[in-house]
Amino acid sequence: MGSVQVTLRNPKRVVEVPGPVRVHALLDRLELNRESVLVIRGDTLVPGDVLLEDTDEIEIRPVISGGAT
């Protein structure tokens, strides 16, 4: 029995989401804005229309940084 293993940051944590699920649907489910993150598997980018399987491990990486200068 598996799920998609999703690593999130700030703070770093892993959540499990039952697959199969499309990347965009996953972001919606986690209430993440697709302008604000990248989805990465291994060291490659995963586009929004990819179907993730229960065996997949992905990272959702925030891309927005906060420095004011």
Binding site: R9, N10, P11, K12, E35, D43, R61, G66, G67, T69
Partner: protein, 310 residues
Amino acid sequence: MKCTVCRKPAVIDVRRHNANFCPDHFVAHVQEQTKRAIEHFKMLRRGERVLVAVSGGKDSLALWDILVGLGYEADGLYLGLGIGEYSDISGDHARAFASERGLKLVEVDLRDDYGFDVPTGAKAAKRVPCSACGLSKRHLFNRAALDGGYDVVATGHNLDDEAAVLFGNVLRWNVEYLGRQVPVLPSRPGFPRKVKPLVRLAEREMAAYCVIRGIDYQVEECPMAAGNRHLGYKEALNSIEQTSPGTKAAFYLEFLDKAAHLFNTDFEEDQVGLLVCQSCGAPTTAEVCAFCRLVDKATGAVPVVLGPTR
């Protein structure tokens, strides 16, 4: 999803351009957008020596990579801010990037060279950390550029950064800042030219560029940034962007084309005349420049100890 250019499998969509790209064509897209900004705003000329302000984060490392790829003679400057583990890791990324590519990285360290760090300096001067940090960066980038004989300092500010600053200034009608928010500030005596070649590229595109090019960058946030107003503005703009792609670019780039010139760009010092800092010789409107005053307060202060960040 297929690449808009070659129909091979795409790895990223750029909705405001209504385009998807394979890795190669995405890199070409980023280079093209950077070139357009450089040419449109007359940022750099061939043969000029460029100093890239490198933080170890995605934007500045990507910028350095792009400029070298476009054939510019660009060295990096890393400024050690002394913000705990965050700074240690950032410095490692900057050094690794430079040494793997045989590029020259100039280093200045606030603690070793000036005897304080950003958390301590901010507390001693009763400034918010980003303000003490920004003041130090501006001063030391200027100084390093002039000392090293560079023509221009390039920073990695991207479209999201500039749109968020513009948004904040418009919300409060800070008109004195609006005229200055242009991506190229000409050189003046004591100041090198300053340029922001990434203003046509969104923050997500810069992170994607790093992943595709195998650039290892500091992903963690600076602990001093948590909860600041600037981040809230970026999030607000991205919620609009999500439903209406292209809004951020229109907001900032159309401002530059249509409105920036309506605001006064006179600098305070143009009116009062510039003095020379009695302590360091930098141009200033006071007897002693703001950075030297910060150093003075900070070096007499009790150091701030940062707890574990996460």
